[in-house]
Amino acid sequence: MRRRTFTKLLGAAAATAALGRLRLARADEPFKAGFIYVGPVADFGWSHQHDLGRQAAQRALGDKVKTTYVESVKEGPDAERVIRELAVAGNGIIFTTSFGFMNPTIKVARQFPKTKFEHCTGYKRAENVATYNIRFYEGRYVQGVIAGRMSKSGIVGYIGSVPIPEVIMGMNSFIRGMRTVNPNGKIKIVWINGWYDPGKESDAAKALIDQGADIIAQHTDSAAPLQVAEQRGVHGFGQASDMIKFAPKAQLTSSVDHWDEYYTQRIQAAMEGSWKTEDVWGGFKAGMLHMAPWTNMPDDVAQAAQSAEDGIKDGSIVIFKGPINDQSGKVKVPAGTELPDADILGMNWLAEGIEGTLPQ
């Protein structure tokens, strides 16, 4: 067979296969929901928690729903291809779980107006694209309160990923919580300019501990910093999931992402036809953020942590309520005013008490 003929036949076969997957859902078929993760489910962090949410939704909705996921999808052109494949495969709702999936999601959503899309941590919406996120910074405030009480040196070592508003608001919230207990508390930052590199995260933790930090906080995805904290006999906070197994004596608590109810509700809404585009930014009150059990701390600290969490939940504690100054002492939030969500989302300055720079 000549090569050209072979290639043509191959192309025809591929096209047929692709077409074959584009099926119209029949009434008796389960509703399909697709998930795209930026990392592996086995990362024991960000993507792991999303998958737990997916599994919970699958259990809650049983036979009526069929969920599938694709993991380790890199942000960029690959993402667009995968999102489109999920849409073509007949998924009625697709969840894209990383900021970098924003533009591909919008693009594919335009071409599949009947499919619903939900983009996590983004800000672009459309009639069939909703956005959702967790107020992780609420958890950081509680961590800060704990750190203020537990730190003897008054220095917290914070391992930063990339200097984007989500990370910055977490740091600012942390120092706010810490300074309600210790007005001289400090945060030292080391940026690893990435979300995941266990080796580098471990080195960053060592560097911070060597420079006087006795509490380690992180916005990166592996359990390596907590491991170092355990080895060095200091304390730290887990990230995205409960990391107590890696640091039985070092972990104080963990910010745990909780997507179960959210995913169940949204898939159900899409199934029943009541789905509408919206922007959900839930924290403690919405039940989307949990704190892992308070461990390795005296009872009064645990109580203080619980009060902080309860205060945020019932609204008596407003984290970004002025006066708040930035590192240079300039007033960023005047006394008595509360920073609106839009300004929190665009936060690009570090609060007083944080040592370290933000690239301009």
Binding site: G39, P40, A42, D43, F44, S72, G157, G160, P163, K188, I189, V190, W191, I192, N193, G194, Y196, D197, P198, G199, K200, E201, S202, D203, A204, K206, A207, L208, D210, Q211, G212, S222, A223, A224, Q227, Q231, K245, F246, E355, G356, T357, P359
Partner: protein
């Protein structure tokens, strides 16, 4: 951070950051000296990491784990060698395929091991040396793989330049046709060199998952295999320079983290770039003498060997 109290922790961190690079690059240097270009270091490291971790977790013996990791790396290198030495596949393509394969295979094996923990590789003290005032705790209170990395570099340097077998290996790498004409078994030597490269890459992976951060996480080497590959070229295929390169890169990688902690107004992205910049800079400086580079580069690197006649 006060006085000189921080020097020892920094040096310790530098040693642990540089060791995986040194281990993997040493084996690759031997392979490349024989003419085999193995781009699959990252894949072999990852497979070594998960196998080492899994065996250590299951048997409780770190030594078994390390041995298994080396064997796993060599096993992957065996697949690669069959492809390029017997089937004469393109070495670059096969190496890249090996990386992708190793990454996926390690993730597959590792699925059941996420969230598990093993005790960190114990530090071994040497009888008199560990009691030396400054060098004692710094150089002679390390785990077995760190000592192994130094011994390997020294051993490879001696082997390549002071033994007949090393001469044969270099001859194969410089001119496989001439070596074949003399009667050296070219394919067998390249096989052995490639397997050695795989073995040390496996050891480097085991270091990552047993000593550096005692856990398994997908893709935990995060590109170190590629850095090791670049270090081999940086070293102009000389083991002493390899030691320098690995420690230069590892050292600056660690120092930039400490500098960040000091709170100086230097952008962190620039500091992250520094190890690569420094390596390139030093490479430019030591490459002034182009003749010496040509003398050391294996002329038949990456070229398939077909016995003529």
């Amino acid at each position: 951070m006060s006085g000189v109290g921080w020097i020892v922790p920094v040096i310790l961190s530098v040693i642990s950051a540089s060791t995986p690079l040194l281990l993997a690059a040493t084996g690759e240097l031997v392979a490349e000296k024989s003419g085999v270009l193995n781009l699959g270091i990252e894949g072999m490291m990852l497979v070594g990491a998960i196998v080492g971790f899994a065996v250590t977790l299951s048997t409780g013996s770190a030594i078994l784990g390390i041995a298994a990791a080396g064997a796993a790396g060599a096993g992957l290198a065996l697949v690669f060698s069959v492809l390029i030495l017997l089937l004469l596949a393109n070495q670059v393509a096969a190496g890249l395929a090996l990386t992708i394969f190793g990454t996926g295979l390690s993730a597959l094996i590792g699925k059941g091991f996420v969230g598990a923990a093993v005790p960190q590789l114990p530090k071994l003290d040497l009888p008199l040396l560990s009691d030396l005032p400054f060098l004692g705790p710094v150089l002679f209170h390390q785990d077995g793989l760190v000592y192994a990395s130094f011994l390997l570099v020294a051993g490879v340097a001696w082997f390549l330049h002071h033994t007949h077998a090393g001469l044969a290996l270099r001859a194969v790498g410089d001119s496989h046709d001439a070596a074949h004409a003399i009667g050296y078994p070219v394919v067998a030597i390249r096989f052995a060199a490639a397997l050695f490269g795989g073995f040390t890459s496996g050891l480097a992976g085991a270091y990552m998952s047993l000593a550096y951060t005692p856990m398994w996480a997908e893709n935990m080497t995060a590109g170190r295999g590629w850095i090791a590959l670049a270090l081999v070229v940086f070293s102009t295929w000389r083991p002493a320079r390899l030691l320098l390169g690995a420690y230069l890169f590892g050292g600056i990688s660690i120092l930039q983290l400490y500098v960040q902690g000091l709170g100086l107004p230097i952008p962190s992205q620039f500091l992250s770039m520094l190890p690569y910049l420094a390596t390139v800079l030093v490479l430019v400086l030591i490459s002034q003498d182009r003749m010496r580079i040509r003398l050391n580069a294996p002329a038949c690197l990456g070229r398939p060997f077909l016995a003529a006649g």
